[in-house]
């Protein structure tokens, strides 16, 4: 009883122990061959992974069978290659033979076979890493470069051609993440270019047989590249410096020539050059102000003395032979007094003949020299007389149109000197011819003939057939013209010099006396400026009906002379003197004095401002009526007066 009771705990213990063993111990798990590798194609090693050991010490065994052979061999070496490995040495290794390898795990409870693996050594070659990797820095003309050299792994027999290895290396800068890989083929040397100056490089090499696996990367080799200056950078720096230099020079030149460049690129826009034109006013948009601003007080010249300077008045005399004489070069004469004096700078605007250099303009202030001028004019007048004689011979009609030269239409008037230039031609005139002409009216020709319909305001002598003493109105066309600048005597006045001798008949009678008057202006008359017609022609009338009327001797038909210029006063007034006609009529010495003073104000030769010119006639004082003709001549010599013409309108 007691033994049965005592064995129960023992049985229980055994039962428990046995139970425990069964739960903990089991046959080993299935091992697994992981890989087989051959480093040089002469030996190879296989590794397996053991399964669960089942709690019991498990032994592993590797068995292999060669191709087409049923003999099973066990692994010759379990230790060389480490744990759970099998190393096949050269004697046991056959190339181009298929190995069927199996690992068996065995423990107390059982054994387990792994799956068989077929292995052909040729295809499992994985060499060792290349050895003796050396990196050196070499110098080249382009800069430094790395030369990497290595040796094949020691065990790989490449010299006999048993293994053919191809190599690969990789480089990277210290600190970078990505490697730069290069295939080197079968060579054992490689050059690396394009290095960064002063950089630290890492180099690694590995190899592979032509049919096999890549080896592991060799241990890193560190190499430092020395500092150097890359050639490319130096070239770029040179180019940059050069370009900067050129740029600065160009900028400097541009600065210097900025004005001319600006002028070339952006030519100045010509603005309006109208005198008195104000752009600002125009921009403001007030046209009235703009146009009112255009009205320059000095323009057009009206009765100002400027006009006098500009005006040159002429007396046209129609002489058929003297057509050429009267021809005017004209150009310089054409310009009228369009501009007030004193505007020299503006080149674009129309410049009046007043400002022309070619035209001599003498202002009013030249009264001092008038005397001399008068004398000269008188002389000229004498010469003119010769022309007049010729003219007298010819057509005395007033058909001035025939005589008109083409220049006439422009209203050009010759200046004195130009008139006299052709004088020599006519110098050959016979004196007697002249003498006969003496009887004719003496007109102090100024210059060219003016066409009667011309727009120019001119004083032209309108001599008619019956002019001689019987003529009616005599129209004097004052030609306003500027004298030739070369003419020292030129005066801006109109050369009225209307020493027309209307009293032809009387002249005839006085031929003897007139002969004396040949050299000079024979007769002067009183001329009353009747009016200025619409063509700016100052019509002068023999003053007979004015104050001289009281004497009653003066009549129109009496053919009194009014064209005698007494003189020119300081006020630019042509003083016409009435000849002592009374002498002819009344030889009793009756005389009268006419206080007629003709004042013909100079009017600007302009078509547009005809209205502004006023011609007034004033009686000129009569100089001594009883004076002999010579006196008158003397007077006549001085008798050029700058006349102020005021319009009669």
């Amino acid at each position: 009883m007691r033994r049965a009771v005592g064995s129960v705990p023992l049985l229980l213990m055994l039962f428990f122990i046995g139970h425990a063993k069964e739960t903990r111990y089991s046959p080993p798990g299935k091992p697994k061959l992981t890989s087989c590798r051959s480093p040089e194609k002469e030996t190879f090693t296989c590794w397996w992974e053991p399964g669960s050991d089942g709690g019991l010490p498990t032994t592993y065994a590797l068995y292999y069978r060669k191709e087409n052979s049923d003999a099973v061999y066990e692994c010759p070496d379990y230790h060389t290659a480490g744990e759970n490995s099998c190393f096949f040495n050269k004697n046991d290794t056959s190339i181009w033979v298929n190995y069927n390898i199996t690992v068996v795990a065995t423990n107390a409870l059982g054994s387990n076979f792994s799956d068989p693996v077929d292995v052909d050594v040729v295809y499992i070659v994985q060499p060792h890493t290349p050895e003796n990797v050396t990196v050196t820095v070499m110098e080249d003309k382009d800069g430094p470069f790395l030369r990497v050299s290595w040796e094949p792994p020691r065990k790989a027999d490449t010299r006999s051609g048993w293994i053919t290895l191809i190599y690969e290396l990789r480089v990277k800068l210290e600190g970078e993440e990505e490697w730069e890989e290069h295939r080197a083929g079968q060579q054992k040397m490689f050059n690396i270019f394009s290095l960064r100056s002063g950089g630290m490089y890492l180099v690694q090499v590995r190899c592979k047989p032509d049919h096999g696996f890549w080896s592991e990367w060799s241990s890193t080799t560190y190499i430092k590249v020395p500092d150097y200056f890359p050639r490319e950078t130096s070239v770029w720096i040179l180019i940059a410096v050069f370009s900067a230099f050129i740029f600065f020079i160009l900028t400097w030149i541009l600065n210097l020539k900025s004005n001319s460049v600006k002028h070339c690129l952006l030519p100045p826009v010509p603005g309006p050059k109208i005198k008195g034109f104000d752009k600002q006013l125009l921009k403001n948009g007030r046209s009235e102000e703009v146009f009112s601003a255009l009205v320059v007080p000095g323009f057009p010249p009206t009765t100002s003395s400027d006009c006098e300077d500009l005006l040159v008045e002429y007396l046209e005399v129609y002489t058929p032979e003297e057509q050429e004489l009267i021809l005017e070069e004209g150009k310089d004469l054409q310009e009228g007094c369009l501009k007030s004096k004193g505007s020299p700078s503006d080149s674009d605007s129309g410049r009046g003949s007043c400002d022309s250099h070619t035209l001599l303009m003498e202002k009013c202030g030249e009264g001092e020299g008038k005397e001399e001028k008068h004398q000269e004019r008188a002389q000229k007048g004498k010469r003119q007389q010769k022309h007049q004689t010729g003219w007298e011979e010819g057509d005395v009609s007033h058909t001035r149109e025939d005589v008109l030269s083409p220049d006439m239409s422009e209203g050009r008037v010759k200046t004195w000197p130009s008139v006299f230039s052709p004088l020599p031609q006519y110098s050959s005139r016979p004196l007697d011819h002249q003498g006969s002409l003496e009887t004719a009216r003496q007109l102090c020709l100024s210059d060219s003939l003016f066409p009667p319909p011309s727009t120019s305001s001119h004083l032209s002598y309108n001599a008619k057939e019956g002019l001689a003493l019987g003529s009616g109105q005599q129209e004097f066309y004052l030609g306003k013209k500027q004298t030739h600048p070369s003419n020292p005597q030129s005066q801006p006045r109109w050369h009225l010099q209307a020493h027309s001798d209307f009293n032809i008949s009387s002249m005839d009678r006085k031929q003897a006396a007139s002969g004396l008057q040949l050299p000079g202006f024979r007769s002067t008359e009183y001329v009353e400026v009747q009016r200025v017609n619409q063509e700016d022609m100052v019509i002068l009338q023999p003053l007979f009906s004015s104050s001289c009327q009281r004497d009653g001797h003066l009549q129109i038909g009496q053919g009194e002379d009014y064209s005698k210029v007494k003189g020119v006063d300081s006020g630019n007034m042509l003083l016409l003197q009435r000849e002592v006609e009374v002498k002819r009529e009344e030889e009793d010495g009756d005389r009268y004095s006419c206080d007629i003073q003709d004042r013909v104000t100079e009017s600007c030769y302009t078509t547009s401002t005809a209205a502004s010119s006023q011609v007034t006639g004033k009686p000129t004082s009569c100089a001594g009526t009883a004076m002999p003709v010579q006196e008158e001549m003397v007077l006549a010599a001085n008798g050029y007066v700058d006349q102020n013409i005021t319009s009669v309108h």
Partner: protein, 230 residues
């Protein structure tokens, strides 16, 4: 004017073409060393070896590709492979299975082995290529490879024969190699065997044999012409 230009340019083009053609004709052929020049022979042997080795390497590459294709499509299970009894018809040819064994062989024997292998594979590969061409399972790429492989074996054999001739001429090897060129003598009774071979086994066997050929050629070259490349 354009017409003149065209004619002139055509003339120029013709002249240039003529020039190039003449150049090509002259330089077309690589310099061939005639027999009797000692220095030229050695160089030419090395070039021949290199060319042959390259040829064999390409042949082996093609065979590897075809074999892996077969393995993917027809034998996905490795176990199935394991059970296949791979018996190559060239197993009767004794080939060195190791480096020492290969180095122990004489040059002539090594050359013979190479030639034997190449001869043994000419017919099977041709038939293989024929069967693949008619088989719809294979794409054009595989059939082209098989055809190329078949041609390559033929070319390689000729090349190795030339190398052997050269070596014999140079006195490097004896004249016993020529007797092996006859295909009939090599594999008289294996005809039935390789006809039964499956295509896969054929590819497997050929892949290995092409590797052998390449390796033997390299050994031969490095033994006869020692260079730093070996």
């Amino acid at each position: 004017m354009p017409e003149n230009f065209r004619s002139v340019s055509a003339v120029w083009v013709g002249l240039v073409c003529l020039l190039f053609y003449s150049r090509l004709v002259r330089v077309g052929a690589a310099p061939i060393c005639t027999n009797g020049q000692a220095g030229c022979h050695i160089l030419s042997l090395a070039d021949l070896f290199d060319r042959v080795i390259q040829h064999s390497a390409r042949m082996h590459g093609i065979s590897s590709d075809l074999h892996s294709e077969f393995e993917q499509y027809f034998f996905p299970s490795k176990n199935h492979i394991g059970r296949v009894n791979r018996i190559c018809h060239t197993s009767t040819i004794l080939t060195p299975n190791g480096k020492e064994n290969a180095q122990r062989l004489a040059r002539e024997e090594l050359t013979e082995v190479i030639l034997k292998l190449l001869v043994a594979w000419r017919d099977p590969l041709w038939h293989f290529q024929q069967s693949i061409a008619h088989h719809h399972d294979f794409n054009n790429f595989s059939s082209n490879k098989a055809l190329e492989m078949s041609d390559m074996v033929h070319e390689l054999r000729k090349g190795v024969e030339k190398v052997a001739e050269k070596m014999q001429m140079l006195g490097i090897i004896s004249n016993s190699v020529n007797s092996l060129t006859s295909p009939e003598a090599l594999i008289p009774s294996d005809r039935a065997e390789w006809r039964l071979m499956k295509d896969y086994v054929l590819l497997y066997c050929f892949r290995r044999d092409s590797n052998k050929v390449q390796n033997y050629l390299k050994i031969l070259k490095c033994r006869i012409i020692p260079q730093h490349e070996c």
